[in-house]
């Protein structure tokens, strides 16, 4: 598996190949915690301003502008404030945060400390999926090192500012990547999402103002303080600042984690050249899910020769979304009905059961898929699935429902022949997956 930067100097990946890059010693030798020193000399408002200028957008999938999110935290609230790192990485196709936590945990910690200073918070939590136990162990060591060196604890670097950060484990639930479900889980409850508004920035953990950001969002913060918001933004585009980590998997020769500047041109070059092209010479490109399982699937015709730029706007224009940047590449051996069934089974399993459209709808969709791929598909099944998706999309309590509907809607739109083959012949004429 490759881990490297293309088209830019490694920034997020600056330390991942260094020996002992996860230790405080190497982190400080390579400029670590210098941004914190700078930040402690800045006013909270100035820090938020730099983050706004940077055009950093949340790296967990939704892409909400980070500086704006931070500015929603009320300054005059008498309640304690919390900074929470969403390290629940569970989006199928996404595996970037894992390497940041494994090889450069101090970047995330430094980003969280700076955020806490800017928001007036004294407590942070890193909510990590339970399966990433080895990463929690690595982060616990890193946090202890930071505490020992005075970057955490009382009176950080003599500034009078107190902050401590703790790890917290999940126990297997995709929904806990949704920020309000994460907070329910962090309070010891089932991972059910909460009504918004109030947004977590106003009423989050323990009904107190809380900021939840993705690992890669926090690791960007020290870079922004070091370079200045404008310079960081200019690495990418005006609306999509900085660089972005892409996880790429499936039928490519060199899967891995790649750091690309936002606005990288183009998607075809990335897959066919940078990632070595298709895994097997006999099969060409059939489909790509560019941003993790929750975005629209694209067919080869939407990508090849289309100069799709890799940023938020470019992928929307091309008919999909950036999401978490978890790109899954499929060759012509794949049957899109089967792959979409696989993802629908995922959403059925991960639906928290709180609201009816998502809980019942995903179950019915799996039943219809199972009927089709058992050879009993009916002509009206396609419309039935679209109607079900229509009753989930925008009508479920949280975005998990939308995420379940979009892959199906786009698969039917972009790969009608795969569905027709099953309905008409009771089998796929190609593809075994």
């Amino acid at each position: 598996m490759e881990i490297k930067a293309i088209g830019c100097e490694p920034l997020q990946l600056k330390r991942v190949h260094l020996e002992n890059g996860h230790t405080l010693k190497v982190y400080q030798q390579t400029g670590g915690y210098e941004s914190l020193k700078t930040a402690l000399g800045m006013s909270p408002a100035d820090i938020i301003d730099e983050v706004k200028k940077s055009a950093l957008r949340g790296r967990g999938g939704a892409g909400f502008p980070t500086g704006m999110k931070w500015s929603f935290v009320p300054k005059d609230s008498p309640k304690p404030k919390y900074v929470v790192c969403n390290a629940d990485e569970s989006e199928p196709g996404s595996f970037k945060d894992r390497y940041l936590m494994e090889r450069d945990p101090h970047s995330m910690i430094e980003g969280m400390i700076i955020a806490a200073w800017a928001l007036g918070s004294n407590t942070g939590y890193v909510y990590t999926r339970g399966e990433y136990k080895y990463l929690i162990d690595i982060m616990d060591v890193a946090l202890a090192e930071a505490r020992e060196a005075g970057f955490l604890g009382k009176n950080v670097l003599g500034s009078g500012f107190d902050i401590d950060i703790h790890t917290h484990t999940g126990a297997g639930a995709y929904i806990c990547g949704e920020e309000t479900a994460l907070l329910s889980s962090l309070e010891g409850f089932r991972g059910h999402p909460r009504m918004k508004p109030p947004f977590p920035a106003v009423e989050g953990l323990y009904a107190s103002p809380t900021i939840v950001n993705n690992v890669e969002t926090f690791t960007s913060v020290p870079q922004i303080i070091e370079m200045g918001g404008d310079a960081w933004r200019d690495l990418g585009t005006e609306k999509s600042g900085g660089t972005k980590l892409w996880s790429i998997s499936g039928h490519v020769k060199r899967p891995g984690v790649y750091e690309l500047p936002m606005g990288y041109a183009d998607m075809e070059k990335f897959i066919m050249d940078d990632c070595g092209g298709m895994l097997r010479a006999e099969y060409g490109l059939k489909a790509v899910i560019p941003g993790g399982s929750s975005v629209y699937i694209m067919n080869a015709g939407q990508i090849l020769g289309k100069n799709v730029t890799l940023d938020y706007e470019g992928l929307v224009e091309a008919g999909s979304m950036l999401g978490t940047g978890g790109m899954m590449v499929m060759d012509e051996s794949v049957d899109v009905v089967k792959t979409t069934q696989n993802l629908t089974e995922f959403y059925k399993h991960e639906s928290c059961g709180w609201c009816t459209p998502c809980r019942e709808g995903t179950d019915w969709l799996v039943k219809i898929f199972t009927r089709i791929t058992s050879g009993g598909g009916r002509e009206e099944d396609i419309q039935l699935m679209l109607d079900l998706c229509d009753n989930i999309e925008g009508k479920s309590f949280c975005p998990l429902g939308d995420a379940a509907a979009w892959p199906i809607q786009s698969a039917i739109r972009q790969f009608p022949d795969d569905f027709k083959r099953w309905i008409n012949n009771g089998a796929a004429s190609n593809g075994s997956h």
């Binding site: 569970s90 595996f95 484990t169």
Partner: protein
Amino acid sequence: MAAATPTSYTDQIVYTDEIADFSPEIIAEMESHLAKYPGDRKRSALIPLLMLVQRERGWIDNPGVNFLAHFLDLEVTDVWETATFYSMLNMRPVGRHHIQICKTLSCRIMGEPEITAHICSKLGIHPGETTGDSKFTVSLVECLGSCGTAPMMQIGFDYHEDLTTEKVDQILGSLD
């Protein structure tokens, strides 16, 4: 050699008032988790402590749940309510080695079906079952964040990636 496949999620639970006993070292470890949260927010430690109870007792059994209810000043039903939501918390005993094979898209198209068939035929069980000697349980699970090194499985907490059938033989052979 397969043990009977339980028919319901919680059918192995024997309800009892018995309260599990833990050593002072384990209690101290639990206290260290509790110390992370505000004093009036003990329930926040529930999921980390459920993971710890499972580590010590192999699964989430009723005495373990009763202990956590006492330890965290919760009702027993509060503990069950949370515990039954999360897929890593086992509501029935599992084998000494819990083999969790990722079945989601990237693993699926990169060879998961062959890996699953190989492991199941080698152990003589189906996914969801435990071998008669309680050594292995095989489960199919959703994405474990290892798509670039597919296909993969997690045994206990250990990641095993870029799997081939030969590699699987080697890994299973090394476990006692």
